[in-house]
């Protein structure tokens, strides 16, 4: 304790130098924490939006559908939807049928992906459908109403209420056609989806394809991503009774998004490490200067009976205190910056006009942070370790001082 007190007093010998080092350390920690939390917030929102509009946090496919995306690999979910819905943390289970085909209006024709859905269930979680006015929502599972991607609607030169025909190959290999009426249009911002999406009631799509009761995808949306650890093992357990089906996480189902996030986190980590290393060099410099300035005093301390180990401990204590104060100050500043970025955010609309897409998912132009407390704690601890690592060389140097030589030093 006395050694720590002495270390604390020593730190404030050169008030300006210590303050500059503290500010550098705290500011770096604040930057790392705040920018990580900003990325974390943006990615969490993107994952949430991606899973809700896409394949869910977890998804079940026929095992051969995953690689081939061939519509012949459908499956009958049986009681799976009800069983999954009963699991804690599951917000919605969404059966979907995907059928490639052709849509024809009186003027144009376009390739489409007919998607058979349970409208009410989709509306509860899909952010694009949720934003549609009630009179543009699908009303039944078997009706002839359809929601189109905004670009497809434009290309087919259709308007809400217009009729058009969908032609596709059914399960027997025959071409079948059916007339639908435009109920609404959605704009996801993703070109491929907006120009091919055609959403209808599941029963109508299944009947047209000759696949009654069958689906291609069972998307599971969780109340939050943290439930994935609980629900995924339960899903695997349930799928033991469905050997033809496989359960995937969103990272496996949406590899583009997962890889893009991974890559961005990796490059961010690299930048953070460089930043912290630069600051560490500053700490080494501060501690080394402080040791060299006290060369004679260290000689006296050794002469009056301190061991070299105690002197090394003194230097480490100074680094520890410097690291601890920076950790607390930096974390306080990091929390303040995170709070600001969460409440106010950064509006990219000032800089960019177009829709922002990342890894195949559109994201909100107002970037908002989210709290990743374990990471904040981890990076603060890492900085404390770096401060201690910065003390290794100065401490070795202090421990090698020979008292008789040091006291001759002026």
């Amino acid at each position: 304790m006395d050694l720590v007190l002495l270390a604390w007093k020593n730190l404030w010998r050169s008030r300006r130098r210590t303050l500059i080092t503290l500010i550098a350390l705290s500011f770096s920690l604040m930057l790392v924490q705040a920018f990580h939390n900003l990325s974390y917030g943006v990615y969490s929102a993107m994952i949430d939006s991606g899973v809700r509009a896409g394949s869910g946090h977890l998804v079940v496919y026929h095992q051969d559908y995953v690689a081939s995306r061939d519509e012949q690999f459908s499956f009958a979910p049986g009681q799976l939807r009800e069983q999954l819905s009963a699991l804690a943390g599951v917000a919605e289970v969404l059966p979907r049928l995907y059928l490639p085909g052709l849509a024809q209006s009186s003027r144009e024709s376009r390739g489409i992906l007919l998607t058979g859905v349970i409208p009410q269930a989709e509306q509860r979680v899909n952010p694009f459908l949720r934003d549609l006015p009630t009179d543009q929502q699908l009303e039944s599972l078997s009706g002839r109403q359809a929601i189109l991607g905004s670009r497809l609607l434009k290309e087919l030169q259709l308007k809400i209420g217009n009729k058009f025909v969908v032609t596709l190959q059914n399960a027997s290999g025959d071409l079948v056609s059916e007339m639908f009426r435009v109920r609404g249009a959605v704009q996801t911002g993703i070109k491929t989806i907006d120009s091919s999406l055609l959403m209808v009631g599941h029963q109508r799509a299944a009947a047209l394809a000759g696949l009654p009761g069958e689906i291609h995808e069972l998307a599971i949306v969780l109340q939050s991503q943290k439930f994935e650890r609980l629900v995924f093992p339960a899903l695997q357990q349930l799928l033991k009774n469905h050997p033809q089906q496989v359960g995937l996480s969103w990272e496996e189902a949406m590899p583009n998004l997962a890889n893009a996030i991974r890559l961005d986190y990796a490059s961010q980590k690299f930048i953070f490490i460089i930043l912290l290393l630069i600051v560490t060099i500053g700490v080494v410099n501060t501690l080394l200067m402080s040791v060299m300035e006290r060369f004679r005093e260290f000689g006296v301390i050794l002469a009056v009976g301190a061991s070299a180990m105690r002197l090394r401990l003194l230097v480490f204590s100074e680094a520890l205190l410097l690291g601890l104060v920076s950790m607390l100050l930096g974390s306080a500043l990091g929390s303040l910056a995170t709070w600001y970025l969460q409440e106010v955010g950064i509006n990219l609309r000032y800089f960019i006009d177009e829709t922002l897409e990342f890894g195949g998912v559109v994201f909100d132009p107002v970037l908002r942070a989210a709290w990743d407390r374990p990471y904040m704690l981890q990076i603060a601890g890492f900085m404390l370790l770096l401060s201690l690592a910065a003390a290794v060389y100065p401490a070795i140097k202090a421990g090698r001082i020979k008292p008789a030589e040091a006291m001759r030093h002026h």
């Binding site: 007093k9 005093e297 006296v300 002469a303 009056v304 009976g305 301190a306 180990m309 105690r310 008789a404």
Partner: protein
């Protein structure tokens, strides 16, 4: 058995391609309770001899015995312990730790020994009263006069009740009146507490107050009276 015994001790420093003999084949015994001055001109080897007695330096040749123990080739951690428990140091330029108060400086060696704070403070209060420093406990060294700082240095050296106090030119930075007071004080501690004092000095005032004067010249013993 003498408290300090040097047997044919030499200390040679390398200086570039040459060698400087700071202490040359010197033998000396100092009994417990002595008040001894190592006198001699600059460069005569006084400080080197004090460093050898104080276990701050190793002899190139010969043996150094302290309180019945040979200290010449002992490992550093053992020498540090020996310095802590058996030797008190007083330096020419006081060498107090500037960030600590006078009392904290005085109790520094006790802190290193792991003595509890309350006992340390009690000992320092006693010493400060004896050394005429009462009331200055919370002052920083920069707020004390040279004489007061040197008395705090004496308190630091005496706090752990060492077997020997080594003082390297303790009056060199003081005016004559402060030197006189300091010498009287150390002599009193020597008489009343039986502490052994070994000084290095070329100050005639210090030499005149000494019980024994060992004069060195070119690293050799010139006289011992």
């Amino acid at each position: 058995m003498p408290l300090i015994e040097l047997k044919s001790v030499s200390k040679i420093y390398p200086l570039g391609s040459q060698q400087v003999i700071a202490v040359d084949d010197l033998s000396l015994s100092i009994e417990a309770g002595e008040f001894t001055v190592l006198a001699g001109p600059s460069g005569s080897g006084k400080t080197t001899l004090l460093n050898l007695i104080g276990c701050l330096d190793e002899p190139s040749r010969g043996e150094v015995w302290l309180d019945g123990q040979e200290v010449g080739g002992a490992p550093q951690p053992q020498l540090a312990k020996l310095r802590l428990r058996k030797i008190g140091f007083i330096f020419q330029s006081y060498n107090l730790i500037p960030v600590l108060t006078a009392a904290e400086n005085a109790e520094f060696t006790l802190m290193l020994m792991g003595v509890p704070k309350s006992r340390r403070r009690q000992r320092v209060v006693e010493l400060f009263a004896e050394l005429g420093l009462a009331g200055l406990e919370e002052r920083k060294p920069s707020d004390l006069s040279g004489g007061q700082q040197q008395r705090v240095a004496i308190a630091r050296a005496m706090a752990s009740q060492p077997a020997v106090v080594l003082a390297d030119e303790p009056t060199a930075s003081l005016d004559s009146q402060a030197s006189e007071e300091l010498l009287a004080l150390m002599r009193r501690l020597n008489r009343e507490q039986g502490a052994t004092f070994v000084f290095s000095s070329h100050d005639p005032l210090v030499i005149s107050r000494a019980q024994r004067v060992v004069t060195l010249r070119d690293g050799r013993l010139e006289s011992d009276r």
